[in-house]
Structure formats: structure tokens, C-alpha cells
């Protein structure tokens, strides 16, 4: 077979081109199709936790697990409540039995009895996915099964997730876990099905003390946004540069 350099180049380019062509078709979506289902880009969901108001009843955890079909007895949860009891020597005693699913009814912490006279402060801290502006869990996903919607919520595609667990390791807040039924990565998604339908997230609705609230950061008139803009709020692990969107009122330095 004789083949000039010109013929060779022609053939190889032609071959590569025809092979690449089908891959490109269908990749282009009209702006309307794309805009229709990626969420309202004008919104940015934020969460506000008032640790001063939380009494550790754990009704949020119960509501969350029921709403989002997380097996109640399994040691996994999308949101949980931590108890911090700081004694006079400055030591923090921390626990979260069953993630606070059944509340905190035992004065003992991890089997340790603490003398009430010895307690200098005690408080409860609800935790959930921070829906980071720069989510490290999304960066590491090798298959594009987790992503950030245009309204700022990080979702997991259960159809597409291969269950490799990279994202579970990558989250600095430990909010991700493996769903024992779906066999995929799982996490809080701010009750995306509820908030996009005009309802409150299950935990927000269940909280009797208004310790959990949600709002739209892009709306300056939103009451939650006003609190975040005008009061002294903090976020967890700011130094990681993830820009968490769950803000805390009255967060103690003992909380990690």
C-alpha cells in the first residue's frame, strides 16, 4: 500500500473527525432548556442556625430522617445535633447520641457523669451540609454525579453515583455518608424538593424554637439575609476556603 504524507494526514484527520462527531452531537442545549431545570439563578439558598435558641430536642433530626427516607435506626443522618458541656477546667465534653435523633435526655456524656456545679457553659449545635460556595466534595467526584445547582445547593445524582466514596472523604465537615439502600453517596440537600416548591425544609419546619431558618442570600429584604448581613455570625472551618453557606449565631470557639 502506497501512502503519501498528504494522504496519510487526510485519512487520519478524517477518521478522527468522524469518530469525534457523534460525541459532540446532543451536547449543546438551548439556553431555555438549560435554564428551565438548573434552578432559579437569582436565588442563593442560605441557612441560619441560632445555637443560643437550640435546646437539643432533636425533632429536626427525626423530621429530616423521616422526610428524606434515611433509615431511622442506622447510624447515619443528614443533620445532627451536638451537645457541648464545658467544665470549669476549660475541657469540652462533646457527644451526639444517635445524632440527637431522640434528643438529649441523659445528663451523662459518653458514660461520664459531670458534676452540675462544675459546668461553666453548655449548649447544643445543630449541623448539616454547608452547601459550600466552593464544595470540595464536588471537585473530587470522578463521574460528575454531584454538583452545585445555580441556586447554590449541592445535589447527588443517585443514578450516576458509582459509590466510590471520594466525596465522603473530601468533605471537611463530615456531612456525607453512604446510603445503605441506594448504595450511593448521601447528604443534606436543604430539602431541595421542599424549598423549590415553596415549603420550608423539614428540619426548619420541625424546630419549635426557630433555631433553624433558611433564606435567599441574593434578596436583601429576606429576614434571614438581614440577620446574616447585620449581626455577628460565623461559619464552620472558615480557614478551608470552602465558603460555607450555613451561618451560626452564638457559635462557641469550642465548636469544630
Amino acid at each position: 500500500m502506497s501512502c503519501s504524507r498528504r494522504d496519510f494526514l487526510k485519512k487520519s484527520f478524517g477518521g478522527a473527525l468522524s469518530a469525534a462527531l457523534p460525541a459532540g452531537t446532543g451536547a449543546f442545549l438551548g439556553p431555555r432548556d438549560a435554564g428551565a431545570s438548573v434552578g432559579d439563578a437569582k436565588k442563593r439558598w442560605v441557612f441560619l442556625v441560632d445555637t443560643e435558641a437550640c435546646t437539643g430536642c432533636g425533632l429536626c433530626v427525626k423530621a429530616c430522617k423521616t422526610e428524606n427516607e434515611i433509615p431511622l435506626e442506622a447510624p447515619i443522618t443528614r443533620t445532627w445535633v451536638e451537645r457541648y458541656v464545658v467544665t470549669r477546667d476549660g475541657e469540652a465534653h462533646v457527644d451526639s447520641p444517635k445524632g440527637g435523633l431522640e434528643g438529649f435526655t441523659d445528663p451523662q456524656i459518653r458514660g461520664e457523669t459531670i458534676d452540675p456545679e462544675d459546668i461553666s457553659k453548655a449548649f447544643f449545635v445543630p449541623k448539616l451540609c454547608n452547601q459550600c460556595e466552593n464544595p470540595p466534595c464536588v471537585q473530587v467526584c470522578p463521574v460528575g454525579a454531584t454538583y452545585q445547582t445555580n441556586d447554590g445547593v449541592v445535589l447527588v445524582d443517585r443514578e450516576w453515583c458509582i459509590g466510590c466514596g471520594y466525596c465522603i472523604m473530601a468533605c471537611p465537615y463530615g456531612v456525607r455518608f453512604f446510603h445503605p439502600v441506594h448504595k450511593t453517596a448521601e447528604k443534606c440537600n436543604f430539602c431541595y424538593h421542599r424549598i423549590t416548591a415553596g415549603m420550608e425544609a423539614a428540619c426548619v419546619q420541625a424546630c419549635p424554637f426557630e433555631a433553624r431558618k433558611m433564606g435567599d442570600a441574593n434578596n436583601p429584604d429576606d429576614p434571614v439575609t438581614k440577620v446574616i448581613k447585620t449581626e455577628r455570625v460565623s461559619v464552620l472551618k472558615d480557614e478551608y476556603g470552602t465558603e460555607p453557606q450555613v451561618y451560626y449565631l452564638g457559635l462557641d470557639e469550642k465548636v469544630r
Partner: protein, 157 residues
């Protein structure tokens, strides 16, 4: 050029073609970058709709109040007004059509979530009326004496 020199090239091109064609069939058409960056917005677009269609279980006490007017009126004027009906009665999603009666959580543990005494000075927990579970009628469910819809009144039982 000799045939045996070109043969590996055709094999390589063939492999690339097979991968690209297989990818075309396996990757959904709506998979791609839907947002500002590849890093955070590379995904299957229809999954957003799938999540939006996830069934909501908790309906909110406004819906309960539409039928259960008396209970809602009593409850909403009590100190327990901020506690959602469904926190004790369970999610009302299929009620009343499929689920005729909801299972009520009448356990002591449900009340103790807030009313077990914990000696926590700076916490709001101390602002709530509290008992010691071991000493205050340990074998009895709270609603026998206390009306959960209106805790200042005695139970109607």
C-alpha cells in the same frame, strides 16, 4: 509507507472511535456543563427535576388546621403552639386518603426531649419547665396527666 507501520495507527484510531461511540450511547444527552464552571456544574441536568419531584412527607400545621379546627385552636393558643402537629402525630402526607389514622408518639421520650432536666446554665434548655425522668412518675406516660395540646390544662382523660 509499509503496511505493518500503519497497522497500529488504524488500531489506535479504531479504539478511540469505539470509546467515543460507546460514550455517545452511554452518556445521557443532557450531561454536560450547566453553569459557570466545569468544576462545580458538570452533571446530568434532568437530575435536578428528579430531586424536585422527591415526595414531601411533612405537610405543616396549617394543613392539619383545615380539618382539625378545635384541636388547632386549642394548640395554637398554648405554650406548645410552636410545636408542629406532625412532630408527635407523624408526617401527614397520605392522611387522610390512604392513611386513615396517624400513629401518635405518646412516649415519655418524646416529651423528655425538651422537659428532661439538664443542669446547663447558659442554655435555653434551662428556660423550659423540666422534670427528672427517674423521679417524676417514671412508669406513666405524660399525657395521662398533662394535655399536650394545652400543657397548662390537665389532661381531658
Amino acid at each position: 509507507m509499509k503496511k505493518h507501520v500503519l497497522r497500529p495507527l488504524w488500531v489506535a484510531i479504531g479504539l478511540v472511535a469505539v470509546v467515543l461511540i460507546a460514550r455517545e450511547f452511554m452518556v445521557p444527552p443532557d450531561f454536560g456543563v450547566h453553569g459557570e464552571t466545569f468544576t462545580y456544574h458538570y452533571y446530568r441536568l434532568s437530575n435536578v427535576e428528579e430531586w424536585k419531584n422527591f415526595p414531601a412527607k411533612y405537610q405543616g400545621q396549617e394543613r392539619c388546621a383545615r380539618c382539625h379546627k378545635d384541636n388547632a385552636a386549642e394548640h395554637s393558643s398554648s405554650k406548645h403552639a410552636t410545636i408542629q402537629c406532625e412532630n408527635c402525630h407523624g408526617p401527614g402526607v397520605d392522611h387522610p386518603r390512604q392513611v386513615k389514622k396517624l400513629v401518635i408518639d405518646t412516649s415519655r421520650e418524646q416529651c423528655l426531649r425538651c422537659h428532661q432536666y439538664l443542669p446547663y446554665p447558659t442554655s435555653q434548655r434551662m428556660a423550659l419547665p423540666a422534670i427528672d425522668n427517674q423521679e417524676h412518675w417514671p412508669e406513666r406516660e405524660c399525657h395521662v396527666c398533662h394535655n399536650p395540646h394545652y400543657p397548662d390544662r390537665r389532661s381531658r382523660r
